[in-house]
Amino acid sequence: MATATKTQQAPILNTNEPDKEETKTIYSIEDFNLWYGNDQALYEVQMDIPENRVTAIIGPSGCGKSTFIKSLNRMVELVPSVKMSGKIQYKEKDIFDPKYKVEDLRTDVGMVFQNPNPFPKSIYENVVYGPKTHGIKKKSILNEIVEKSLRGAALWDEVKDRLNENAFGLSGGQQQRLCIARCLAIEPDVILMDEPTSALDPISTSKIEELVQTLKKDYSIAIVTHNMQQAARISDKTAFFLNGEVIEYNNTDNLFSNPDDRRTEDYITGRFG
């Protein structure tokens, strides 16, 4: 169009600029394919997950987003018929390298699930469970870990006077934050979250979202969510999965304001899914 000229004035909100503070890549995924038996669930996934950022994974049910996130800590291998090809590198190390112990990977990469799943133990015991299995026995160190983890999960003030009570007595939102505290107790670098707020009420959801924003200073977070507003609010980058493929992986601002792919636009505007 010859008559139209792009405005010279800088927009107040520039949504098209790449992330100004480039961070290191914590996960590098190359040509990753995954099959459950004969059914292929992921196709040629190619993604770099940045450090100290929140990366959201969105897509309709059955698109492979949970499979993908569970591949990052090799949990997906618990399904007997799984086959994989391609590469997933965590901090430049191949996570499928036989020399790389899966326990080491899962110490670095914690996971929080859709439904809060505290152990039927006290709040205190839930948090120290991981550190104890790693051989930490000294009470003073365990106490320190409990306070630090519960503070990190924004739960300390609510439970500090009842640490020995059963975790099942907490509300759903508190239980989910306890699970995050349990995850923080082993001092991971990455936290994977698989729909962590889908079973929670709006206030608990908002607390978890605020928490995610705080946690990204110290952790890299990948979050699978069905709630697109949540992805838009809390993530820095968003990947849109469809039928096992990454259709678009973009800065969240771009993806939700002016996506590159028509299928992303159709999904985020509710035309399908």
Binding site: A4, T7, I268
Partner: protein
């Protein structure tokens, strides 16, 4: 009806309401210039009173747009569609205000001003109306190639405006006693020029809707 289906229906209704509002503003301009040329004070009063209705319609569309934003929490093109609806209705309301101002000038001139209205003011009005029809088409079909034409059309209106003002200034030099009347005529030309500028803004809104970036057409 599913959520998206209802949303699509609401968007269609909103689009129809905006197009109807735009036609009302165009009609107001048509009548205001007719009233100016024919010294028809009744018609001028009619344009002024009808402007209240346009203002009310603008508020109704805005309320519905805000409600849709709250209920649908739109993103991407949907969000831009609602944002430009607010912008476009504001532009249309200002277009109608310009038509109303021409009608007020007609009332100022009165029934026996004995002034010959510059004949090309009607031509200028027709150009502005043609622009509005182009903008409606671009809006209806979300067609940026049509919206892009508004830039050249606005330039033509601007050039004609300058010609008219030049002629009018010559008139005041030879007939200084008529200056208060001639000023009203110059104002009227200016109001049409502003009317056209708002249509160009609508074109820019359509470009923003489709491209997701801001463009200038004037």
């Amino acid at each position: 009806m599913a959520g998206r289906e209802q949303f699509e229906t609401d968007l269609t209704h909103m689009k129809e309401a905006i197009i109807a509002l735009s036609k009302s503003a165009e009609d107001a301009l048509y009548k205001a210039i007719d009233a100016l040329f024919n010294q028809d004070l009744d018609l001028a009063n009619n344009v002024i009173s009808h402007d209240n209705l346009i203002d009310e319609q603008e508020h109704t569309i805005n309320d519905q747009t805000i409600l849709l934003m709250a209920k649908q929490q739109p993103v991407a093109t949907d969000l831009r569609r609602l944002v430009i609806s607010l912008q476009i209705t504001a532009d249309i309301e200002r277009m109608a205000d310009n038509a109303k101002n021409i009608a007020k000038s007609t009332l100022h001139l009165g029934e026996d001003h004995r002034l010959i209205i510059h004949p090309r003011i009607k031509e200028m009005r027709d150009m502005a109306m043609n622009m509005n029809q182009t903008a409606i088409k671009a809006f209806q079909y979300e067609d940026i190639s049509i919206a892009g034409k508004l830039s050249d059309m606005d330039n033509e209106v601007d050039r004609l405006y300058e010609t008219i003002i030049h002629d009018i200034l010559n008139e005041t030099a030879t007939n200084p006693e008529k200056i208060q009347y001639v000023m009203q005529m110059a104002f009227s030309a200016r109001y049409i020029e502003r009317f056209a500028d708002h249509i160009t803004n609508i074109g820019e809104s359509i470009l923003y809707l489709v491209k997701g970036k801001s463009y200038k057409l004037n």
